[in-house]
């Protein structure tokens, strides 16, 4: 995958691009996405993949003008437009799934194929979603992965977490990224999507890890109930970071959209 820049009305947007085939837009979760992401690699074997970064993620410029759900939704449509993608397969993970679902609800005639991977956006009082923002880094692997030990290794990727320079960089990146994500996820990751899901016309596949502890599978059923004709693919031995833990299985599930 190659990191590139496209201009939009608000800010220059960084995006990853790779592969050949039908257009596929991938929207990342609150943790961001990098060029060595295994799901993007799997998808790029059969698709032309573009994965725009939300402003503030990675090395991209922040954007003060994007404040609420509608801003995020329309901004991401602006990005798709600027990239010249026509009716791409729209894929979103977690926060990206929330944005993708909103995009498909707001402009139902422009999305015919939609894949939502453990999307945020709904709230069930009986199954409160953990507060990601107050979760300490060392608590993350248990929350995000089926196999916390392997997950911890993936998250730190060999970096020295005790190094003060790393810590400073980490704090700044966290403030930029989760600061931006907080605009639609804090303190409760719900911005009225439930009332708009009925508008979605796309052929939709929902992809969920059986051991997702952040957004438990009960939410998969809530989405399935609200999106007409949605198909649910449950994947064993996968947590919320299913994109890292079972990239091949996720790519195959997305492949069902044709």
């Amino acid at each position: 995958m190659e990191l590139k820049t496209v201009q939009t009305r608000h800010v220059p947007v960084r995006y990853l691009e790779g592969g050949a085939g039908p257009d596929l837009v991938f929207l990342h979760g609150a943790g961001g996405v990098t060029a060595d992401d295994p799901l993007l690699a799997a998808l790029a074997k059969t698709h032309h993949v573009v994965a725009p970064l939300i402003p503030g993620y990675g090395d991209s410029e922040e954007c003060g003008e994007i404040r609420d759900m509608l801003d995020f939704t329309l901004h991401t449509w602006d990005v798709v437009e600027a990239l010249g993608c026509k009716d791409p397969i729209l894929v979103g993970h977690s926060m990206g799934g929330m944005i993708a679902a909103e995009m498909a609800a707001v402009q139902p005639n422009d999305v015919s194929r939609l894949a939502l991977i453990a999307p945020a956006g709904l709230w069930d009082d009986d199954h409160p979603i953990a507060d990601l923002f107050s979760t300490m880094p060392y608590e993350m692997p248990a929350l995000l992965f089926h196999d916390p030990e392997a997950g911890a290794a993936m998250m730190t990727a060999g970096r020295d977490v005790e190094d003060p320079n790393f810590l400073q960089t980490y704090l700044v990146a966290n403030a930029r990224q989760l600061g931006m994500a907080g605009r639609i996820l804090f303190p409760v990751p719900e911005r009225g999507l439930a009332g708009r899901l009925y508008r979605i016309k796309a052929k939709t596949v929902l992809i969920w890890g059986d051991s997702d502890k952040l957004i438990p599978p009960v939410y998969a059923h809530a989405f399935k109930k609200s999106v007409a004709g949605a198909e649910l693919v449950s994947i064993p031995e996968a947590g919320h970071m299913i994109t890292l833990e079972q990239p091949q299985a996720v790519a195959e599930a997305i492949g069902r959209l044709g």
Partner: protein
Amino acid sequence: MKFTWFNLMPWPYLPDDFREKNRSVWVDIDQRLFDPAKSHEVYNTYMDLLEYADTLGFDGIGVNEHHQNGYGIMPSPNIIAAGLARRTSDAAIVVLGNSIALYNPPVRVAEEFAMLDCISGGRLVAGFPVGTSMDTNYCYGQIPSLTREKYQEAHDLIIKAWTSRDPFAFNGRYNKLRHVNIWPRPIQQPHPPVHIPGGGSVETYDFCIDNTYSYSYLSFSGYLRAQALMNGYWKRVEERGVDKSPYRAGFAQTICVAETDEEAERLYAPHVNYFYNRCLHVYPGFADAPGYRTIKTIQTGALSQYAPPRGGYAELTWKDLTEQGHVIAGSPETVRQRMEDLIKGLNVGNIFCLMHVGDMPADKCMYSTKLFAEKVMPKLRNMFPDRADDSRFWCHPLDKRVSAGSLPTAPARAPIPAE
């Protein structure tokens, strides 16, 4: 010098194993640890202590706002301040302050502060904190990266509400109001003095300088650790070419006075220990929601003051806490010397004296307070003779003020209707 006697109002009944059994004193503290019936006495004793400080000649008595917090049972400081305004007659009522991004609409703050100013006869000093991340984000649900924008708007609205003499429309991003027209308005003109608690961001330095507000550093880690931050402030003041009046700044300091240094340790060490080990036991996940502080502030390396020192407070002994300046404690002469170092070193004219510490009982608190007022404060009064007439950062009460409760016990006779 302006000395304000401050009470954080800690809950004094946190159990001995609080640290072991609870992850945080703040945000998700165990409901069952609060006993409403006991709080009746706690609240009234704490208010009595604030009133006692007024009788001893402190310039101000201070309250602040925290939510879901075991060391600050004062979610509404204005309620306490209203009681103090009635029962005291001289001290400034220092409300430090109202977290203005949390009031909806913030006109509420303009109104309540106006009421306090009117009831107290112009004794209000108004504080506008952004609020800690625990209070503002985790308890009150404000989106971290939009909190400052919302705060700024609230500030602009409050100042306009205080200073406009005609109804106006306010079309903000967070507040849409067609008829802003507060009634009552404050006695002090153009508005009560404003103090801004800050934690080291350049934006806040400039905000204070631009508006002639006093910058307050409210830390629990003492004056020695505050030096770098306050140096940053004064450097900025100099760069901006304004005067370096010490009243442009305030500092909070834990202070315990006894007849001797030994007596201070014997009397106060358990309560200091209670405060630093139980009350400051904040789950680090709540200290700093991502997006709450600006990138610039993080890059300057100013970590949250709620991040405990490496190794935690538990390892700090009385000796550590006093030598490192977290706490200024000892005989009147020891305290005087150290206070002088603090005042000169930080160049601060406003001292917020944290004299009730942790689970300190009223008698010890009164003892310490009285010694400070009688044997320390008078010797520190004239630290900045050149700036003695700088009244920009303090309240201006009415010359003639009424006393609360001055009605006769019963009407003397039937009122005579006016002709």
